[in-house]
């Protein structure tokens, strides 16, 4: 049975007349990585702040870890780790001293956790170097280590790969996946870039102008954004036989409308067509279709229409 870590119902945050978050109802389960995707100003950070108890909702409820309470209780909030917006740890201190401050704040008795987490994020060898001399990527990794210090069950990361070089992005993605798989941590991470989150997250929440426009799993996203050749022919059975025997592929799906989606040979459409015609299968429709991640995101948020 799946365990609910977070449930929001009708969550709303208004600043005057402006609705930063509008009637958001989401459900998150243990050990999954949720990508919160939206353009800048879509309400991602405000939503994360409300979940973390940093902002007070105007309306709606937040239930954490199966609690019946309508507002997060202190003991539930203590099970959350956050990295919201750019981390700016104490610049005059070293990474270890910053870890020590957060360990004291969180009341974690084991001092070894400082070393373990610094090793986990690759900052164990920074020694006496002050954080003010760290690169943005190093600060970002330190921010993640600080968020992990209390062994949270829900990790809220706001744009955690901002400022990281490509190697750093790969490393943080791997780290987030490992945290979810090995430690069963639920992760909510935001980005304004769907391709950036692709395959890091197991589930996607697409927001725009404060509202949730779409939620979907990775498998559903894959299905939505897969590129394929759409082929129709008068005799669908004959068409699939030729694909199997003439092209030697089984990478196709027969859709309810009897069209066929061929997901291989995308770069070799001409040879597919020649093979079909040679076998006396005359397509009535033959076209490459499917959306890229970017165009899918733009379609969902409506930004593509303009």
């Amino acid at each position: 049975m799946t365990e609910e870590v977070l449930v929001t119902r009708g969550l709303t945050k208004r600043y005057g007349e402006q609705r930063a978050v509008d009637d958001v109802s989401i459900r998150m389960e243990r050990g999954r990585v949720y990508g919160l995707i939206g353009s800048n100003g879509a309400g991602k950070t405000t939503l994360m702040r409300m979940i973390s108890g940093l902002a007070i909702p105007t309306a709606g409820t937040i239930s954490l870890f199966g609690s019946d309470a309508e507002r997060p209780r202190q003991q539930d909030l203590a099970r959350i780790g956050t990295l919201i917006e750019t981390p700016t740890p104490y610049g005059a201190m070293t990474a270890r001293q910053n870890m020590h401050v957060h360990r004291l704040i969180r009341g974690v008795p084991d001092p070894n956790v400082e070393t373990e987490l610094l090793e986990l994020v690759g900052l164990a060898d920074t020694g006496r170097k002050r954080v003010s001399n760290f690169s943005l990527g190093m600060r970002q990794r330190l921010g993640i280590a600080l968020a992990l210090i209390s062994a949270p069950e829900l990790l809220v990361l706001d744009e955690p790969v901002n400022g990281l070089d490509p190697a750093g992005v790969v490393e943080v993605r791997r780290l987030i996946r490992d945290l979810a798989i090995e430690r069963g941590i639920t992760v909510l991470l935001s980005s304004h870039n769907l391709p950036e989150l692709y395959q890091t997250a197991t589930d996607y929440i697409i927001v725009d102008r404060g509202a949730v426009r779409r939620t979907l799993t990775l498998a559903e996203l894959d299905a939505q954004t897969q590129r394929f050749l759409r082929i129709e022919a008068p005799d669908t059975e004959r068409l699939t036989t030729v694909l199997e025997q003439g092209l030697g592929t089984s990478d196709f799906t027969v859709m309810p409308d009897r069209s066929v989606r061929l997901t291989s040979h995308l770069d070799d459409a001409e040879s597919v067509l020649r093979t079909l015609v040679r076998q006396d299968v005359w397509p009535t429709a033959f076209s490459p279709e499917g959306e890229s991640l970017e165009s899918f995101f733009l379609t969902v948020t409506g930004a593509g229409r303009s």
Partner: protein
């Protein structure tokens, strides 16, 4: 709350601003005591007393105190460590811890003046107060210093530091609202002088005087070299209650505020 307090004190211990402020207070206290000696010995013209006031306890603590309060409270908002504190303990303990840390910081920068008074008195030299503040009066006190006198001087110094912390405690809610140490410093500096003027005006009437007596701004609350233990305890109680009241006001303001 103990965890928050430990963390806040650790941050203060490693704070450059705290170290520099204590060093500045030490240097100013030493210079102030020396200049008061020069005033008494005639080495310095009495007309120069106004210049000497520039390194007096009231000026230096009114300047450094609000800055340290601003830093102790506002800095965690900049470093986002307040996020972790709020997740771990909630708003009440965070406000209480910050109020205590900020007050301790003010006491700490006032203690060099007590130490300077102690050293000055131990030399047996004469001193002329440039301003009639507690520390200046302690330094200039002519009573011979014995073991009991040392304990009394230390007690008066600590209570005076606490009184300064209470007078500047209005900066606590201010720092939670403004979250800008420099603005808190400027406002607190102006406040420390305006408050005394306001209280002296209010104290012209009997009810006003009674009310003012319950605040750390009353002239009656100022510890003197000959203050009794009862007087010191009263001043301590008034100061602690006033700091707690300002902490409660800060909590009311911060209770439902959004944290960036």
């Amino acid at each position: 709350m103990i965890n928050q307090l430990q963390a806040d004190l650790y941050v203060q211990r490693h704070s450059t601003a705290m170290t520099v402020s204590v060093l500045v207070a030490c240097a100013a206290a030493a210079l102030y005591t020396f200049l008061q000696y020069r005033l008494a010995s005639g080495g310095l013209d009495p007309a120069s007393a106004s210049g000497v006031q520039g390194v007096s306890d009231i000026l230096i603590i009114s300047l450094l105190g609000p800055l340290l309060i601003g830093l102790a409270i506002a800095r965690p908002f900049e470093t986002k460590s307040v996020h972790a504190a709020l997740l771990a303990a909630g708003r009440g303990p965070v406000v209480a811890s910050k109020a205590m840390t900020a007050s301790l910081a003010v006491i700490l920068v006032s203690l060099p003046y007590g130490l300077a008074a102690l050293v000055g008195r131990a030399t047996g030299a004469s001193f002329e107060p440039a301003l009639p503040t507690t520390f200046a009066l302690l330094t200039a006190d002519s009573v011979e210093l014995d073991a009991g006198g040392v304990v009394h001087l230390v007690a008066v110094s600590v209570v005076t530091g606490l009184l300064y912390a209470a007078k500047l405690a209005v900066c606590i809610p201010l720092a939670f609202v403004l979250k800008r140490p420099i603005v808190v410093m400027a406002t607190g500096f102006v406040w420390s002088f305006v408050a005394d003027l306001l209280v002296s005006t209010v104290s012209d009437t009997a009810p006003g005087e009674a009310i003012a007596g319950l605040t750390p701004f009353s002239a009656d609350r100022m510890p003197l070299p000959d203050s009794s233990t009862g007087d010191l305890l009263t001043t301590t109680a008034v100061s602690v209650v006033f700091i707690a009241a300002m902490g409660a006001l800060a909590w009311l303001l911060f209770r439902r505020a959004d944290v960036k």
